[in-house]
Structure formats: structure tokens, C-alpha cells
């Protein structure tokens, strides 16, 4: 029990952010029309590419060859997620905008 309480105290800021973000995530997209499901999924997909920051931190403090190789790979994978995700989303939404301007 004491361990659990200590765990909570030690990570209370992170836990606070996690709980609030959980509600925020649900609230923010709750009224999305079904037309936008795919672009929204794709956009959210790009946002979790934020994991690249972790890859940069690992790579930035890598000293041996194995960590360098794995870190390099991780940064590439993360970048693919971020760049690919945002560009694909933009392409999808470009279509929506085009028809708007025609009206």
C-alpha cells in the first residue's frame, strides 16, 4: 500500500496530466461528423508521432554503436510517422477545401 501511495506521489504531475488529457481528448473530438473520421484518424496518427522526441533523446545520449544504430532507426521511424502522417492528412483535406472554394 505504501508503495502505491509513494508511486502516486512521485509521479503525481504525470498522473495529473494523463487524467486531464484523457478527458480532453474525448471532449475535443466528440462532435466530429462521420465525413471527417478518416482525416481525423490520420491527423491523430501524425500527432502520436510525438514519440520521435523520445527517439531523439535516446539517440542524443547514445554512446555505443548498437545504441547509435537502434537510435538512428528509431528517429527515422518516428519521422516517417510524423511527416507521412501530416502530409497524408493534408492531402485528404486538400480535397475538401477544393470543393469548398468552387461553391
Amino acid at each position: 500500500m505504501n508503495d502505491v501511495l509513494m508511486f502516486f506521489m512521485q509521479y503525481r504531475e504525470a498522473i495529473f496530466i494523463i487524467v486531464l488529457s484523457l478527458f480532453l481528448g474525448i471532449e475535443v473530438i466528440s462532435h466530429v461528423p462521420s465525413v471527417l473520421h478518416t482525416p481525423l484518424m490520420s491527423g491523430a496518427n501524425a500527432i502520436h508521432g510525438v514519440v520521435i522526441i523520445g527517439a531523439i533523446i535516446v539517440m542524443g545520449h547514445a554512446h555505443d554503436v548498437l545504441s547509435m544504430v537502434l537510435g538512428f532507426l528509431a528517429v527515422i521511424l518516428g519521422t516517417l510517422n510524423v511527416v507521412g502522417g501530416f502530409v497524408v492528412t493534408d492531402r485528404m483535406l486538400e480535397m475538401f477545401r477544393k470543393k469548398k472554394s468552387k461553391n
Binding site: 478518416t38 508521432g49 507521412g84 502522417g85 461553391n103
Partner: protein, 482 residues
Amino acid sequence: METITRLIQYTPEISILEMSYILASVLFIVGLKRLSHPDTARNGNLWAAAGMGLAILFTILFHKKDGESIGNIPWILGALVVGTAVGWVAARKVKMTAMPQMVSIFNGMGGACAALISLMEFPKLQESLAEAGASSMLHGETLAILFGLTIGGVSFAGSMIAFGKLDEKIGDIKASWLRYLNLFFLLLLVVLLVLIMFKHPVSGDNTLIYFLTLLALIYGVSFVMPIGGADMPVVISLLNSFTGIAAACGGFLYNNQAMLTGGILVGSSGTLLTILMCKAMNRSLLNVIIGAFGGDSTAQGEAGDKTVKEITLSDAAVLLSYSQKILIVPGYGLAVAQAQHLCHELDVLLVSKGVEVKYGIHPVAGRMPGHMNVLLAEADVPYEKLLEMEEANNEMQNTDVVIVIGANDVVNPASEDDPSSPIYGMPVIKAWEARNVIVMKRSMAKGYAAIENKLFYHPKNSMLFGDAKSTLQKLIAEIKNL
């Protein structure tokens, strides 16, 4: 006993970094919010991208771990350039129809990235715990690493299978024993996680973590494998929220607020989005995962003796030209054949003959919700011509002809009148309520749900067999010759 208070290492750089993370988080939130409204969606995507760019740049410039700045910067920049070039070209070159597969691949990359980070951090953590003389691995950081590895690994492997299924490289496996195997794998994963948490930290003892990685990958494959291809959008959306949680685990590990907010936001909104998608198909998430779809469809086989009417191109041309009101119901077949432009051409031609042409879009037409809207928009079809399913159904009785192009399950009457059908209860476009129906289809083959479609045998219906693109071309030529 550990001290609870955390030391605050203050330097101006760290302060700037933290401020940039707050700004990035705000940009993510505003971006997501704007992404969920049609007018602001594109702009919202750019906001989120700006947030990401900011977080990446400031991390490279100002991040410090134990007073040590980010090193290996040329390598990091090199990896960023390679990733950007490949990602950009892949995303630009991919056909609009293959969009869902692409999203799945990018999602997998994020999952793999999260798993790799955990894989590299575990030995370091174990070493430092061993040096500190800890009796077990029980620690908040271990938890974050293990969850990041497991969830990231499952997400990566699952996304690759989802990609293969959407690309029709991997077929569906329908075996009920797979369900039990999955439960067994899941149990094994939990046991392994507990084992690692309570093991004695010995520097360099990483066998269990490699085993966990392998098991996570295997589970990812076996989790997606039995789920039908038609349900892949839901699966991708679910794996998307998984990767979000994996990213948040990284945020927990590094006490990094941008990763934490970004990851959890995607985790929670992705879960909601998954549920919304299931609702659009009138099914529960559990039903999708366990998979009642496309099950044993032998019972529906008795339709074989019914007759199918075919219509010739010239008859179809006449029927269409002298109609008042036409509704086009596009499906994945139209997308595969890249026929959306021809579809628009037919539309324009008929309008010039005084016919009213509208489109009836089923929420899950194509391969993903909204996929069809994107494809038709690409072909310059005006927004107000696209009717949502309910509007289309309301106007059905006044519609002369419904043209179904490459769609199948979304116009299946079995969803209304056959309680034994796997798609019973799914809302569909009631094409059979119109005066005439023309179904353009390559063959009598079943749709993605692998069930018979009674609409094809309906007295009002006639079939126009052939590839959507060439049939449309011939039909347009025929109408022009009238």
C-alpha cells in the same frame, strides 16, 4: 527510503524547453479540435504539425539529461532528413484509394519507434537499479518501459497485418481456435510483464525483455489476423490509439510533457473515434474484435436458383437519359477502378440532359469512413450533391434509378429482413425502394462481408457486369450517341 521530492535542475534552457512543450501541447489540442470541423480541418492539421516541429526543434536545441546536451546531432539530422524524404514522397505518391493502407503503415512506424525506445532504455534502467542495489525491478520507469514496449510492439505488428489485409496481400483466416490462442497469448504477456517487474535486477540480463518483444509482435499478428478485412478501418483506429498510449509511456519515462499530452490525447480521442466508427456500422467494438462478421455464411447460399437480370448498355443509357432523378451509390469497386472522374463525367452529362443527379454516401463506403467523400471531392463532385445515408433514404421513393457502382454490402437488404445475416441491423442505403436499380459490378462475387446480396436478385434490379471504369466509359459513349 527514496526521497519523494524531486530535484529541480534549473537552467534557462530547460525553462524554454518546457515552455515550448506547453505551446506544442496547446497546438496539438487546437489542431485536433479544428480537425473535427470540415471548414477548419486542413488548417487544424497544420497547427498540429507546427506544434510537432516546435517540439522537435526545441528538444534538439535545449534538451538536457543529467546536465548533458543532445549529442550525435549530425546523425539525428541525417535520420530526420531520411525519414522526411521517404515519408513525404510516400505520402505524396500514394493513390487516394490506398490512403488507408498508408495510414496503417505510418501508425506501425510510430509503434515500432516506441518499442525501440523501450528496448534501448530497459538495459540502462536495469543497470542503474542493479547499481543502486534494488531488490526488484518494481519501479515507475520499468512500468512505462514495459508498457511502451508491449503496446508499441502489438501496434507495429498489428498495423503491418492490417496493411497487408487492406492491400489484399493477406487473406482472412476464420478459425475460432485463434480466439483462444489470442487469450492464451494475452495471458502469457501479462505473466511475463509481472515476471519482469519482480525479477532481481542484474546488469546485462535482458533475455526476458527480448522474449517480451517477440511475444508482443506475435500477439499483434494473431490479434489482427482473424478480424475480417472489412473491419480494418476500425482496427487501424484502435491500433492508432494504442500507439498514442505507447508514446505517452515514453512521456512518462522521460517526464516529457509534450509526449505525455500528445500520446494520451491520441489515445483517448482515438478510442472514442474507434467507438464512433463501430456505431456507424451499428456494431460494438467487442463484436468487431471477436468477429461475428463474415463467419459461416453457408446458410445464405440458397439464393442460387434465383434469376439475375442483365441490362444492355444501350438500354441502360436510355433508362438513365429519360429519368428525372438519379442517385449514384459508389463503393470500393469505384475506388479500385479509379473511376471517380468518369463517374463525375456521367453526372455532368446526365445533368446536361436535365436529369437530377445526387450521390448517396454510406458512412463506411469505400474502405474507411469518409473515404468516398474524399475520392469524389478529388473528382470535383460538388459537396451539396453528396447525400448522407439518411437523406438518400428519405428521397429514395422519388428516385427513378439508383446506380450502384462497385458497392455491395452497403445496399444489402439482408440487413433489414434477415435476422440470421451477419450484417443484420447495419444501416444501409435502401436502393430497392427506388423505381429501378442498376448494379455495376465485375461479377456476382460477394462483398467484403462475404455474404450473398439479395438486391442482385430483386425484381427491380438489373446488373451491368464489367469493370467500373470501362463500363462507365462505354455507358457515357452510349448516352452521347442517343
